[in-house]
Symmetry: C2
Subunit: 286 residues, 2 copies
């Protein structure tokens, strides 16, 4: 059923999809990029942090001599709203195989002054230049076949109904991490899903920046239903993803003192671990 | 034996120890700090990345209104040498419970020009203000009692002999992760040790920044003996450590394409997970 839904229309191409259009930054002058943050990537009115990371990642890909984000560290300062924004990007260092940049996303207050939303440091390289060597002990997450997993379209709203982003994502949650949506969270800090873009656009390093922060928070399965704002998120892109849906697994092991970490792994259809991320987020307890 | 060695002298106090003296930054003007990088924290001639992180962390603690590093993301640009350095720190945002800063460490080239070594983004808070709530599923690493673990003083050099830092650290490696020193690496990406400062100075949030990057690299146990330079390291300090030796566990799951991640956990004597870190590092294969 789900696969049929995905295959209905011709998939959107990389470079010609809603995700590409909505992350397109326009060079105003060297190092300064304008963008309108789309309302299509909001969750309960706030712009999704992974989408914002992709916007910043795209500006840095333009500013730096290397094409692919290898490691991106983002500190989230204030909540972003749909509407005009500007990215200011600087080259920190250029090397032969890696270059490092810094970028900030700003929006405007009522007086038109810039307010900083996110600041990132990132090191870029060329994924296609890496040796093929793989010596991994990591294993793909145990997740049922896609047709046995569930998205918001499959029932009474496992994802919040008024979140525009749900229309743009293909998220099929592992039933074992879906208890929160039925009022019976498992108590475990785990969330697993098949992931893609709803229009069938294939995954690339830029969309991996979205993938690591697009699932419902693990806190939901720990019985905490509320806003879990990201303080900091760092993602490593380890491999160019193969075509096909991704599997995303998010784990929280330590909820303490009002903070938790979310560790995400993203696996591609070739069973390669293509991205790893960790974020520190705040929770409101009790 | 080991415990007797540690207890021989009165322990150095926080604020009056070699670690404190060697990380002391001197305010030159607002946001600018001078420091001499000590040759005492080098590994094979290069200044240890965790020591450098503590130097930057100390400058940021001075520049920001909050005292404790909650999350610090560092991108390593060029290798640091012992000698004069300057830290430039800026306040990015000040909030009620968290503030965010940026800092860079510079040294000088032959013409006296500043060369950037490391750039960090960091969010600071007050660990003592956090609620006591702990809901963790993480468990301390399985590591034998300290007296059954081994340091460089216990035999024919499990740590490189000409590394000054070994004199300043109490590192007792789990025998299960010591095979590399005997020419028989386990093949597993694991490194575990008891950790402290050799002069008995107690752990604090600043020394946790050192602890996450002070063990031999996991690559050694994977049979890769060579330089494993850090590209990026992010550390979360989750709790003020209790007195007593720490347990540090480092794990690598994905060595691929000439890069690997090192995930570190630091546990205190009260079985609290006090810090988590992840770094992306380069390896030279074959």
């Amino acid at each position: 059923m789900a696969e049929a839904a995905i295959a209905q229309a011709a998939p959107a191409a990389i470079g010609d999809s809603e995700f590409d259009r909505d992350t397109a930054v326009v060079l105003r002058e060297p190092g300064v990029y304008d963008i309108g943050l789309s309302a299509g990537w909001t969750i309960l009115g706030a712009v999704n942090g992974g989408y914002l990371l992709a916007v910043l990642g795209r500006a840095l890909a333009d500013a730096l001599p290397h094409p692919d984000p290898f490691t991106v560290s983002a500190h989230y300062l204030t909540a972003s709203q749909p509407g005009p924004a500007v990215v200011r990007a600087d080259v920190v260092r250029t090397g032969r195989t890696l270059s490092t940049g810094q970028a900030s996303l700003f929006q405007y207050d009522d007086e038109g002054r810039e307010v900083e939303r996110i600041r990132v440091l990132a090191s870029y390289g060329d994924l296609d230049s890496l040796p093929e060597d793989v010596r991994t002990t990591a294993r793909p997450p145990a997740i049922p076949p896609l047709e046995h997993c569930f998205g918001p379209e499959d029932g009474p709203g496992p994802l919040a109904g008024d979140s525009a982003i749900t229309d743009r994502l293909m998220i099929k949650l592992d039933p074992a991490t879906l208890g929160w949506a039925l009022g019976a969270p498992s108590g475990k800090g785990e969330m697993r899903a098949w992931f893609g873009l709803a229009d069938g656009r294939a995954a690339d390093p830029l969309s991996l920046l979205l993938a690591v922060d697009a699932l419902p928070p693990t806190a939901f399965e720990m019985g905490i239903l509320g806003w879990v704002p990201t303080v900091e998120l760092t993602v490593h892109v380890r491999c160019r993803p193969a075509p096909g849906p991704l599997r995303v697994s998010i784990t929280t092991r330590n909820l303490a003192g009002g903070f938790l970490e979310e560790d995400a792994e993203v696996w591609d259809s070739s069973d390669r671990l293509v991205a790893q991320s960790r974020q520190l987020a705040r929770v409101r307890l009790g």
